[in-house]
């Protein structure tokens, strides 16, 4: 993956979040204040506007992470930012990364997100998409398959009871709604597939 493709990924992710902003807000409104789409859209808009190529994937990944840490405001933005800052340490100080190192960085970021968010599969959070996705890639599944599956994993949060995040305060009343963070995460996987191909 080149640095140009990496930055294009955030462009496309931003477009997808903006295109789905109302859906994300409505899902969030079902379990809270209804701003997940707006928050993510605003933070990603700042990423698109402010993060420029640095000739180094490590630098640009860290810059995207810092931007999300300081602009999104909600827990999901803080977790995205924390994951990217952590993942940047596994990326080369160069404008291109091979598949093996990219996967290592991805695993590093997801591990960080899991640790910071104290959430795992089944808690009705974005980890319900991140963890099966990196596991599927590690077991040799194609990015195309993962990008398609990501929507299914997000949809399957509907039947879960939230155990982490603000929705956990709702207990069993959180059942019946898709977790908005899991849907925005699925959009990221779709953007990644569009940029990288299989």
């Amino acid at each position: 993956m080149t640095e140009a493709a990496f930055l294009d990924l955030w462009h496309r992710f931003h477009e997808k979040v903006v295109a789905n902003q109302e859906v994300l807000n409505q899902l969030d409104a079902a379990i809270g204040d209804g701003d997940h789409g707006t928050n993510m859209g605003r933070g990603l808009g700042r990423v698109v506007a402010d993060v420029n190529p640095a000739g180094s994937l490590r630098s640009s990944c860290r810059a995207v992470g810092m931007k999300l840490l300081s602009t999104v405001g909600g827990a999901s933005g803080a977790l995205w930012g924390s994951a990217l800052v952590s993942a940047s340490g596994a990326l080369p100080d160069a404008p291109e990364v091979n598949r093996e190192m990219a996967l290592a960085a991805l695993n590093q970021g997801v591990g960080q997100m899991k640790a910071r968010g104290k959430a795992d599969v089944g808690d009705k959070t974005m980890m319900d998409v991140w963890i099966p996705a990196v596991n599927a890639l590690a077991s040799g599944r194609s990015l195309r398959e993962v990008a398609v599956q990501a929507r299914t994993w997000a949809d399957s949060t509907q039947s879960l009871e939230a155990r982490r995040g603000r929705a956990a305060y709702l207990g069993s009343r959180s059942i019946g709604h898709v977790d908005p963070g899991s849907l925005s995460t699925a959009l990221w996987w779709e953007a990644l597939f569009e940029v990288v191909g299989s």
Partner: protein
């Protein structure tokens, strides 16, 4: 000196909790209070500048409590690169802050403050 840092999504909540614990523990302790500098939400830059202010006041370590979600995540993130040790406490915001203030007012260090604040989860009102 060990300082206490309160981080809420709303600055008025953090400041009000500080006012309350000063009434209970006296004002001899150093307490930072920060939240939602640009409105509602945890704010990375505001947290960093409040930490810098506490260090300027002489804090060599900081015990920090967030209200929920992103305030905890951002505190843990800031703690990684901070110039002084920052101990992020898993404690209820109000009751934990009271317990932390009592520990600090009686000479406790960050670790003793952490233990006192986290035990606040177990103290019933009735």
């Amino acid at each position: 000196m060990t300082a206490l840092l309160l981080v809420s999504h709303l600055d008025r909540v953090a400041v009000a909790v500080r006012d309350l614990i000063f009434e209970l523990s006296g004002q001899a302790i150093v307490v930072g209070a920060v939240g939602g500098a640009s409105g509602f939400g945890a704010d990375l830059e505001a947290i960093e500048s409040e930490i810098a202010r506490l260090v300027d006041e002489g804090a060599h370590e900081i015990a920090a409590i967030g209200d929920m979600g992103s305030s905890m995540v951002l505190l843990e993130e800031v703690a990684v690169d901070a110039h002084v040790p920052i101990l992020v406490l898993d404690a209820p915001f109000l009751e934990g802050a009271v317990a932390a203030a009592m520990a600090l007012a009686t000479g406790g260090d960050a670790l003793e403050t952490k233990m006192a604040a986290e035990e606040a989860y177990g103290i019933r009102k009735r």
